[in-house]
Amino acid sequence: MMARKKKEAEPDFVPFEISDRIDMTYRYSYGGISPFFRAIKEEAKLLGSRCARCKKTYLPPRVNCSQCYRPTKWVPLGTEGVVITCTAVYYATSRFYAKTPFVCAYIRVDGADTLLLQNILLDDVAQARPGMRVRAVFRPERKGEMADFYFVPASASSF
């Protein structure tokens, strides 16, 4: 007993379709958070930003503390963390259609107070679980963007 298709009224003329496209191209500046992406690209390192007053470390970083409106300072973070929540994506957007299935997870990197979204590379995507310890792996070729790294189970010997 599957999808019952509703009968819909037919228009009294034949609709006419054309191909079209909307596009914009960028040289996008990361602005104040440029140091974060430069560190990923050039040093394969994760930087957080810390508000000394609120004792809060942001990752994703922000150069202003949203709680007290004071500037934050850059701090180096480790590359391990814990999964807070996660999902396996089986049906994706046209850009990622061919890459399914893959895992998206919110990870609390050690030393950070906030969660970072990242992919976790697993043999079986159904193994992703909250509570998993994971570590970041940086790709050899990096452009300075989030896709430059991903996570694997902390116990994994290599990927």
């Binding site: 007993m1 929540t85 994706a92 046209s94 259609y97 998206c104 919110y106 906030t114 969660l115 989030m146």
Partner: protein, 398 residues
Amino acid sequence: MSRRVAILGYGTTPFRARWIDRTYYELAFDAAKAALKDAGLSHDQIESAVYGIYNDLFERQFMPDVYVHDYLGLGLKPSLRVTTGGATGGAAVHTGFAQIASGLYDIVLVLGVEKCSDSFNPELKSSTPEVLKGIIYSADMTFEAPLGLTPAASYALPTVAHMEKYGSPTELQMAKVSVKNHKNAFNNPYAQRPERITVEDVLQSKKICHPFKFYDNCLYSEGASALILVSERFAKRAKRPVAWITGLGASTDMAFTGNRADYADFGSSIAAGRAAYKMAKIKNPRKELDFAELHDAFTSAEILSYEAFGFCKPGEGGALIDAGVTEMEGDLPVNPSGGLIGCGHAVGATGVMQVGEAALQVTRRAGKQQVKGAQQGLVQSIGGPATSWTFAFVIKGE
């Protein structure tokens, strides 16, 4: 509140997967014409228009509202557009309410419209993945969109966090929401997808994004819905009972969602619900509400919303559907219209449609989907990353 606001008219097009024979402004016209007829007014009497349209890429037109305004023959009258993701329709109602309550205008058209299915990916020969891409430009383009995030994932991540925290909802409980809303849609002549399905159909349908299967999703729709909001003076001239917006709440949670203290609950719905209940003087929503139209973009969203709006305690939303409380026969029916799963999700139109359906209920004009004795209902309009935005409304009869 200085001035009361009534819903004098409501009109909607059917929600469909695609309206190939209508442009977005032609759809908007159909909805506006129906709402004006329902209100017994001519378009010349509209004093201001608020348009809710989510995504310019869907319409293949930036600033689409300005063309709708012309097409509706409203040239030289005031208009503006609001856009807040899936909550766009709710934001439009909120803005129309404020325009009347402020004393600026007495008769305001609130119109939501969306047309997404012109999007098409030639390589995949498919529309949906291209629509999803258009939505994901709304995810944080620096930190999250480049990782393949999808709209379903944006709901799945808090759902999994909620399951981790409370042990619910189960996939079976979620499936029951799907069965209920598909079934309710049979009573709604404008619904896109009424279906008789079983929980097994849902559980066995194609995996989309853990824990969601095909039947846990709403489908994207095209459609337009319109309301005529009026001040008390004009409401009193109506020849039939009207609906009143007696409670209104809004909240926007953190959209860099990793910044939230707790990821497992619908924070913006909790806050918006409290504000709406306070304004409507509702103390015990479970008892005082007769029905609710909730934003079931995914089945779990409806269950988490039961909790957020105090229909039950946190973590007990799954038990509520198990007990049948939110079925049409239960004592707090949820989504008599079929909701986004059964009626459809024509993004900018959705919140407007939900408020309109609630207005039909409290004026006892809801036909086959009428909830017996409906006097007061809740409407929820949500959108954004992990339901960042919520607009909530209490709609009451006379």
